[in-house]
C-alpha cells in the first residue's frame, strides 16, 4: 500500500531537522498549524516569531533577520504570500537576502475552501523575481530534503507545498539524488516526456501507466525546481522523446509550462502541450474533484501526451 502524505508535513519535519542550527528561525503569520511550522514553534518558541496576520511585515522581519546573520523560514498560505509580493521583490529579492518563504495550500488541490484560498499564480509571480529559487516538490520526503538544503543557500527562495495528501514517491531514495535545480526522472520512456511538479507528479505516473497500456512509453520527470530550471534534463527529453507535456496545478500562464516553453524556444525544440489550470479561478470541491474540474488529472495528461506525439 502506497504511503500517503502532504508535502506541508515534510516542511514541518525539515524545520525540526534544521533546529540544531541556532541561526535557523521560523516566522509565522497565524497559520503555523496549517503550514506545519507549529512543530518548530513548540520545540523552539524562542526562535519563532509570531507576526500575527501580517504577511507583509513577516517577509521584511525575515529580511532584517537575514541581514543580521539568521536563516529565516517564513510560511503562510501560498495565496497570502502574494499579498507580500512587493515586500519579497523590493525587500528580499532585490538585496538578495536569504529569506525562505513557504506557501502551503497551493493550487486548486487545496479543495473545499474554494477559489479565494487556491493560489494558481504563486509560482509564476515568484519566478519573475531575480535571485529567487522556486520549488514545488511532490512528496513529503523530497520536501523535507529540499527544505533542509535551502538552509545552506545564500539567496532567497519560494517553495509551494500542498495541503492534501498525495502518494509518497521517495521513501527509499538516496537523499543525495534530490538536489535543488536537478529534475528527477521517475520513469524512463522514449515516446513522450511528461514534466510535472507538485501534486501532478503522481498523476503523471498514473498517466504513464495508462499510456503504457496503449503501447506508448512515456518518461516522467519530477521537476521540483522551477527556477533555476534543469534545462539539461529538458534537452535530454527533447532528444530522446521528441514531444513534451508539462503538468502542474497552476495557471497555464507563467508556471512550469511556461518555464519549459521558455527553455524550448531558445534551445532544442519539440512540440509542447501544457496541462494546467485553464486560466480560470477555482471553486469549492474535494481535491480529486478539483483535478478533474480543472482538467489536470491523469486522463487529461494522457490526452495531452497523445496530442504532443501527434505533433512530432
Amino acid at each position: 500500500m502506497t504511503r500517503m502524505a502532504a508535502t506541508r508535513d515534510g516542511y514541518g519535519q525539515a524545520l525540526l531537522d534544521l533546529a540544531d542550527n541556532p541561526k535557523v528561525v521560523v516566522l509565522e503569520a497565524d497559520l503555523g498549524k496549517s503550514t506545519k511550522s507549529l512543530h518548530f514553534r513548540k520545540a523552539h518558541p524562542e526562535r519563532t516569531v509570531s507576526c500575527g496576520i501580517g504577511e507583509q511585515n513577516m517577509l521584511l522581519v525575515g529580511a532584517g533577520m537575514a541581514a543580521s546573520g539568521y536563516i529565516p523560514f517564513a510560511s503562510t498560505f501560498a495565496i497570502f504570500t502574494e499579498r507580500a509580493f512587493e515586500q519579497m521583490r523590493n525587500g528580499v529579492a532585490r538585496p538578495n537576502l536569504a529569506v525562505h518563504l513557504c506557501g502551503s495550500h497551493g493550487g486548486t488541490h487545496t479543495g473545499t475552501d474554494g477559489s479565494s484560498a487556491q493560489s494558481i499564480e504563486d509560482l509564476a509571480v515568484f519566478r519573475t523575481l531575480p535571485n529567487v529559487t522556486v520549488l514545488h516538490p511532490c512528496d513529503d520526503v523530497s520536501t523535507r530534503i529540499l527544505t533542509t538544503r535551502l538552509a545552506g543557500t545564500k539567496s532567497p527562495s519560494y517553495m509551494r507545498t500542498a495541503r492534501n495528501k498525495t502518494p509518497v514517491l521517495y521513501d527509499d531514495i538516496d537523499p543525495d539524488s534530490i538536489q535543488i535545480g536537478k529534475g528527477i526522472e521517475l520513469k524512463d520512456g522514449n515516446d513522450v516526456a511528461i514534466i510535472a511538479c507538485g501534486v501532478l507528479v503522481s498523476e503523471s505516473l498514473k498517466a504513464a501507466d495508462m499510456l503504457m497500456q496503449e503501447g506508448i512509453n512515456a518518461s516522467v520527470i519530477d521537476m521540483h525546481t522551477l527556477k533555476p530550471l534543469d534545462g539539461q534534463l529538458v534537452d535530454q527529453m527533447v532528444e530522446r522523446c521528441g514531444a513534451i507535456v508539462t503538468a502542474e496545478d497552476h495557471n497555464v500562464i507563467g508556471g512550469l509550462g511556461s518555464a519549459v516553453a521558455e527553455h524550448l524556444v531558445a534551445n532544442k525544440f519539440a512540440p509542447l502541450e501544457m496541462v494546467g489550470v485553464p486560466d480560470r479561478f477555482g471553486e469549492s470541491g474535494q481535491a480529486d474533484e478539483m483535478l478533474d474540474v480543472m482538467k489536470l488529472s491523469a486522463k487529461y495528461i494522457v490526452e495531452a501526451a497523445k496530442k504532443a506525439i501527434s505533433r512530432k
Binding site: 524562542e46 507583509q56 522581519v61 532584517g64 541581514a67 515586500q87
Partner: protein
C-alpha cells in the same frame, strides 16, 4: 569626542549644502524630505550610533534604516561626513554605476543597512534587526526613520503592532513629520488625525520635539535611549519643515521631488552661507 550643539548645527549645514548640490547636479531627486530629516540624522549618527565607518559591515553595529529611502541625499551626506563614503562619491548620486543610487541601497553603498525606496517597509526590516539583536543578546539597536506620508501604508501598522507585541525595546523610530507628501500637503491627501495618540494606542513610548532645534533633537534621542523607555519600542515624533533651510523650498510641495535650477541653486548656496550674495 563629544559634539556641541554648535558642532552638530555646522555638520547639518554642511550636509544641507551637499544635499542641494546632489539634486542640482543630478537635476532630479528629493531635496524637501532630505532637508527636513537632516538635523535628526546628523545628531543620530554624530552622537548615538554605535558604528565603525572603516568596517561598515561590522556585525554588532547599530542599524539605521531610512525607510523613506527616496530622501537619500540626506543620508548620503551624513555617510560622507561620517567617513563611510567619500565626498567625491556624492557626485555619483543617480549616475549609472554610482555608489549613491537614487534610493538608498545596501548593495551599492557602504553604511546603508537596508535597500529602501518603497514606502512602508523599513519599520518591518528594523523589527527583524531588533529581533536578531535580542536573540544574539546584543545591545545593538535598530533606528528607523519613517515619513509622515509613509504612515498611510498599512504595512507600517502591521509592524507597529508586532513590535509592541514583542516588546522590542531596542527598536527606535524617528518620524519626520514634515506635513508634505508627493502630491500635496498630507492634510489634503490623507488626514492622519492624532498621530501621537495612534502610536500610544499601539503600545509605543512617544515623545514630540521640534526636529530642527538641535537641543530638542538631543533630548529626543535621550528619550529614545532612556532605560525606562527600553521596555518596548519608542517613537520620536519630530515636527519638521519640508525643505528646511532653503527659503523657497520650505513648506513647498513642489520641492518634494524636484531639483533647483541654476539660479535657485545659487540662492540656496547663499542662504546656506557657502557663497557671498
Amino acid at each position: 569626542m563629544s559634539k556641541s550643539i554648535a558642532d552638530l548645527e555646522e555638520i547639518a549645514r554642511k550636509c544641507r549644502v551637499e544635499i542641494v548640490k546632489m539634486v542640482h547636479r543630478a537635476q532630479a531627486g528629493h531635496p524637501g524630505g532630505s532637508l527636513s530629516e537632516i538635523d535628526l540624522i546628523t545628531a543620530l549618527y554624530a552622537t548615538r550610533m554605535r558604528i565603525r565607518p572603516e568596517q561598515p559591515d561590522w556585525d554588532d553595529r547599530d542599524r539605521f534604516i531610512l525607510s523613506k529611502g527616496h530622501a537619500s541625499p540626506g543620508m548620503y551626506a551624513v555617510l560622507a561626513e561620517m567617513g563611510f563614503i567619500s565626498h567625491e562619491d556624492l557626485k555619483s548620486y543617480r549616475v549609472l554605476g554610482g555608489v549613491c543610487q537614487g534610493h538608498v541601497d545596501m548593495k551599492w553603498c557602504p553604511g546603508v543597512d537596508f535597500s529602501a525606496g518603497s514606502l512602508g517597509m523599513g519599520l518591518s526590516f528594523g523589527m527583524g534587526c531588533a529581533t536578531a539583536a535580542r536573540l544574539d543578546s546584543s545591545e545593538r539597536r535598530a533606528f528607523v526613520m519613517i515619513g509622515d506620508g509613509e504612515m498611510q501604508e498599512g504595512s507600517v501598522w502591521e509592524a507597529a503592532m508586532a513590535a509592541a507585541h514583542h516588546e522590542l525595546g531596542n527598536l527606535k523610530v524617528i518620524l519626520d513629520r514634515n506635513r508634505i507628501q508627493n502630491d500635496d500637503f498630507c492634510e489634503e491627501q490623507m488626514r492622519m488625525f492624532d498621530i501621537p495618540a495612534k502610536w500610544k494606542a499601539f503600545g509605543w513610548n512617544v515623545k514630540e520635539i521640534n526636529g530642527h532645534d538641535m537641543t530638542e533633537v538631543m533630548e529626543g534621542l535621550d528619550f529614545l535611549e532612556a532605560p525606562e523607555n527600553c521596555n518596548g519600542p519608542s517613537i520620536l515624533i519630530a515636527h519638521t519643515i519640508k525643505g528646511a533651510g532653503i527659503s523657497y523650498m520650505e513648506n513647498n510641495p513642489s520641492f518634494h521631488g524636484a531639483a533647483p535650477n541654476d539660479e535657485q541653486f545659487h540662492q540656496a548656496m547663499v542662504e546656506l552661507g557657502e557663497v557671498e550674495a
